[in-house]
């Protein structure tokens, strides 16, 4: 059981009070590191599990009440493991049901000062262990955290005795809490994103500087994961940071110094183009099972050579990207970018730059109008490019909304984003099918056609493309229906009111 101390809690007095009922024997007093493993998106923690890596690669699995569920040796490859690689059958199936594909790796390292005591009754029987733990989380780019907790681990059959005595000895100055460590990480440090708070920022130039620094930090936090090839989400988050930076620069360009903007764009363009091919491969491979599901049973295995080829190409591309990210050229333009952001000052901006509220409102209005314009022009025979153009407009709208959400009234951005979710998903699915269909054809062209497996693969891809066409048509029809609803006067008015768009 975990307790958080109130301000009036007195440790010395507490130990003294406990000594009246138990014989306390110190069993541990040391500083140690707590190393928490989880997936990129903290799936274990979200399912109530805490994975802690100890000495000699022993992984302890706790529930939220700090009960040990398993302790097994883990074979780490490049600092990560997959659920399927866990030897212990029961833990393997537990982790597999939580994350069949995402790797588990170091998600947080916490410095911890631990002081543990045995609680023995008058018969010298061990009834439980009480631990005082001071934890410090200090990592570049994240805000520092420090707190002290009390952990009681009564032995079976002694829960009531130990917990009652703790309550009595603490004079009710200890409050029960769920696992505090993971909660903190889930709330503040999840998804490799540092926090961005613009609520107190009054000027546009300050907001832009902060956002660009924040996005640069976000990209940097994901770079190591791309190089280590731990999870494809590192690359995705890196690219999202780059795209958001580009969108911001594009929409604020008239207030920015052209020369400096060009310097910033040089890095962003390099980072964007260097990573795009690998991201495409990642998306195909992530959908391997989905594609196979689309195929009739007899063709399911025929598509394997195509994916084998994609895997080879992906590995080649990954090595190339690692080279690029480690190159002198990349380091130079990145340093240049970092310096340009840190040296951003008022001189960069046109003196006529608007207030932050006006900028947000005008930009969102412009983007929203574009969505309406591009959306209305669509019909069932529109080419995929027209859908893609609308998607770009939508993304720009969403990025601006997300980046400035902390400057807006609480909940305003979230509500609008939620109302656009269905449209976003449909446009995403439509675009993915377009690109993937084209790319599948090009993969086939790159394969050696003289083998029987290639002939079978052509049949399977042909079948898949037919299925993709059908899906795309269905998505387009659904999208158009949804867009009509979205454009209803009532909905438009609601969004505009929420965002104060006039």
């Amino acid at each position: 059981m975990l307790f958080k101390r109130t301000e009036r809690f007195n440790k010395k007095e507490f130990i003294g009070n406990l000594s009246g009922r138990f014989r306390l024997k110190i069993i541990e007093k040391r500083e140690k590191a707590r190393i928490f493993f989880d997936t990129f998106d903290w799936r274990a923690a979200q399912n109530g599990l805490v994975l802690q890596l100890g000495d000699n690669n022993y992984l302890s699995v706790f529930d939220n009440k700090f009960n040990v569920l398993s302790k097994v040796k883990i074979n780490l490859i490049n600092g990560k493991f997959l659920a399927k690689d866990v030897r212990d059958q029961s833990l393997r199936s537990k982790l597999f049901s939580i994350s069949p594909d995402r790797a588990f790796y170091l998600r947080a390292k916490v410095k911890s000062k631990v002081e543990s005591y045995e609680l023995r009754d008058k018969y010298d029987k061990l009834t439980g262990i009480i631990t005082f733990e001071n934890i410090v989380f200090k990592e570049k780019a994240f805000s520092e955290f420090e707190d002290e907790f009390v952990v009681s681990l009564p032995l079976k059959g002694y829960e009531k005795l130990v917990n009652d005595e703790i309550k009595r000895a603490s004079k009710r100055e200890l409050r029960k809490v769920e696992n505090p460590f993971i909660k903190i990480f889930l709330e503040n440090y999840a998804l490799n994103k540092p926090s961005l708070d613009l609520s107190r920022v009054k000027s546009l130039d300050e907001a832009i500087k902060r956002i660009l620094s924040y996005l640069y930090q976000s990209a940097g936090l994901n770079e190591w994961g791309i190089k280590a090839d731990i999870d494809i989400e590192f690359l995705h988050y890196y690219r999202v940071s780059i795209r958001k930076s580009k969108t911001l620069l594009k929409n604020a360009r008239k207030y920015l110094d052209g020369e400096k903007t060009a310097k910033l764009n040089k890095f962003l363009s390099f980072a964007g183009s260097a990573t795009s091919a690998l991201r495409d491969y990642d998306v195909y491979l992530a959908r391997e099972n989905e594609y196979k599901e689309m195929l009739p049973v007899k063709y399911k295995n025929h598509i394997d050579p195509v994916f084998k080829k994609i895997k080879t190409l992906r590995e080649k591309e990954r090595k190339l990207l690692v080279k690029k990210l480690s190159s002198n050229l990349y380091n130079e333009i990145r340093t240049d970018y970092e310096e340009t952001i840190s040296n951003l000052d008022l001189e960069l901006f046109d003196k006529t730059a608007p207030d932050i509220e006006i900028f947000i409102e005008k930009t969102l209005q412009k983007k929203f109008n574009s969505i309406v314009k591009y959306g209305r022009a669509l019909n069932s025979s529109s080419p995929p490019e027209a859908y893609h153009a609308l998607r770009i407009k939508y993304k720009e709208f969403r990025y601006i909304l997300e980046l400035f959400s902390s400057s807006m009234p609480a909940g305003a951005a979230d509500e609008t984003l939620a109302s656009l979710k269905a449209i976003q998903d449909q446009l995403g699915a439509f675009q993915d099918l377009s690109v993937q269909r084209e790319e599948l054809e090009s993969f086939l062209k790159r394969m050696n056609m003289n083998t029987p497996s290639a002939k079978n693969a052509i049949l399977a891809v042909g079948c898949l493309i037919g299925e993709m066409d059908r899906n795309q048509r269905n998505i387009a029809e659904e999208f158009l229906k949804n867009f009509v609803k979205f454009m209803s006067e009532k909905n438009k008015k609601r969004i505009m009111e929420t965002l104060k768009i006039r």
Partner: protein, 245 residues
């Protein structure tokens, strides 16, 4: 889950020390072990510093899985838990008689612990009544400590006749306990008995002051005197039992 009863119709033959040390050895191998103390003297609990329950809980325990789980207490050793004895065990035969399930009452409740633990060791009292009948039905195997003395051997013969008369098919194994090899009588009885019955295990637990010291240290012998002959003998005995299982 395997249920192992440490049983003998005769008292003072080393049932409790065997139950404590064997369950400890089993838990040390990583198995989740529950030791049930069915002896109203509560000696198993004494060796683990667990005081006996004052409240009478036997009837509840014989009825509900949740009552067993609620009353289990952890020992100071990993994976080893104890269901302590209480004073109402004196009348366990009467309580068992009150159930319609008769000889299967214990089996019915213990099989509900299948997911809770890997092994159940039962430290049984010297009894040849309803509790014994229940133990014979519920157990996968019964291990009987036998002191190489005429009275103890007589007890074994009584039991064998009882099994035959009642058609009990439980796997039973004996081992000699409190053996003093310096005594001619002990040597003669061991030799004769091992010839008479194939149920005797090879391991023999010597008469040892270390075993008596278990009551002083309140711990299994392997915790405080692991290098003694007696400790080694229990380890060998456990190895033999594992092979049978």
């Amino acid at each position: 889950m395997k249920i192992i009863s440490i049983y003998n119709v005769k008292g003072g033959v080393g049932k409790t020390t065997a139950a404590v040390n064997l369950s400890y050895l089993c838990a040390k191998e990583g198995n989740k072990v529950l030791l049930i103390d069915f002896d109203a003297q509560a000696s198993a609990g004494f060796y683990f510093k667990i005081k006996p329950e004052l409240e009478s809980k036997t009837k509840k325990i014989l009825k509900k899985r949740s009552a067993i789980i609620k009353n289990i207490k952890a020992t100071d050793y990993k994976n080893l838990e104890l269901l302590p004895a209480d004073i109402s065990l004196r009348n366990i035969d009467i309580k068992l008689n009150s159930f319609k399930t008769q000889g299967k009452t214990l089996l019915n409740v213990l099989k509900k612990l299948d997911e809770y633990c890997d092994f159940i060791f039962i430290d049984s009292p010297p009894n040849l009544g309803v509790l014994a009948d229940n133990l014979f039905t519920a157990s996968d195997i019964a291990i009987l400590p036998v002191v190489p003395s005429p009275l103890s051997i007589n007890g074994i013969e009584v039991l064998e006749k009882y099994f035959k008369r009642k058609d009990i098919e439980l796997k039973t194994y004996y081992f000699f306990s409190m053996v003093e090899k310096s005594k001619t009588l002990h040597r003669a009885i061991i030799s004769a008995e091992k010839k008479r019955s194939g149920k005797y295990l090879k391991s023999e637990i010597p008469y040892s002051s270390s075993i008596e010291k278990m009551g002083v240290y309140k711990a299994p012998i392997l915790e405080f005197a692991p290098k003694t002959e007696a400790a080694k003998a229990y380890s060998c005995l456990w190895k033999e039992i594992k092979k049978i299982l």
